[in-house]
Symmetry: C2
Subunit: 109 residues, 2 copies
Amino acid sequence: MITVDALPACPVETTLTLISDKWKILIIRDLLDGTKRFSELRRSIGHISQKVLTANLRQMEADGLVHREVYAEVPPRVEYSLTDTGRSLEIVINALRDWGERYKANRVA
Amino acid sequence: MITVDALPACPVETTLTLISDKWKILIIRDLLDGTKRFSELRRSIGHISQKVLTANLRQMEADGLVHREVYAEVPPRVEYSLTDTGRSLEIVINALRDWGERYKANRVA
DNA sequence: CGGTATCCAAACTGATACTG
DNA sequence: CAGTATCAGTTTGGATACCG
């Protein structure tokens, strides 16, 4: 858990502290579509190792962005979803998406 | 220069390819205030080494985000500014800033 | 299935020294 | 001033093996 005191003064840096890792943004992008299991998430993100995905999800859970629900079944099932805070990042993701689309369009033009 | 062909299909990932490095976002944040010399930029960003700042600026120049102007003086003067494409990232930066402010406010509350 | 633990190679970073 | 070059130290990441 990143405490308030440890957050940088600049709000831009605050956000970067929480999601600058590129995987985190992709995790949020994919969880915006709804709850996903660990393996589903791994597949939808693309090329990410189990270790790195786990580490990212644990941090995001600690930071209050992601909710982790463990079902006591055999075989085990673990589902990940966005918290309200995590979902509020949709605005940021959309800004990234819009800009990426325009950048590509300009490059082709 | 990242060619169009090399850009990921997902526009979110395209944007990340260009600016996911946290320094790049801070560089853009600071250049949004106007043209800056190398040393000014280094100071305004905070704790960044000369090597890393140079490397980031070179890449951003190649990607068409930043303009580099060298003045043939002694001592030399090099000024960096945003291109139109670079400046268009202001929307993204603002989204990051707004979200960071809200996140901190909620943490305190 | 969804992890954790371990090892190792590769990437990044920081400090330092030097230059046009 | 604004770099480039080099090298050691730290981090990061992938591969593998094993567990509840």
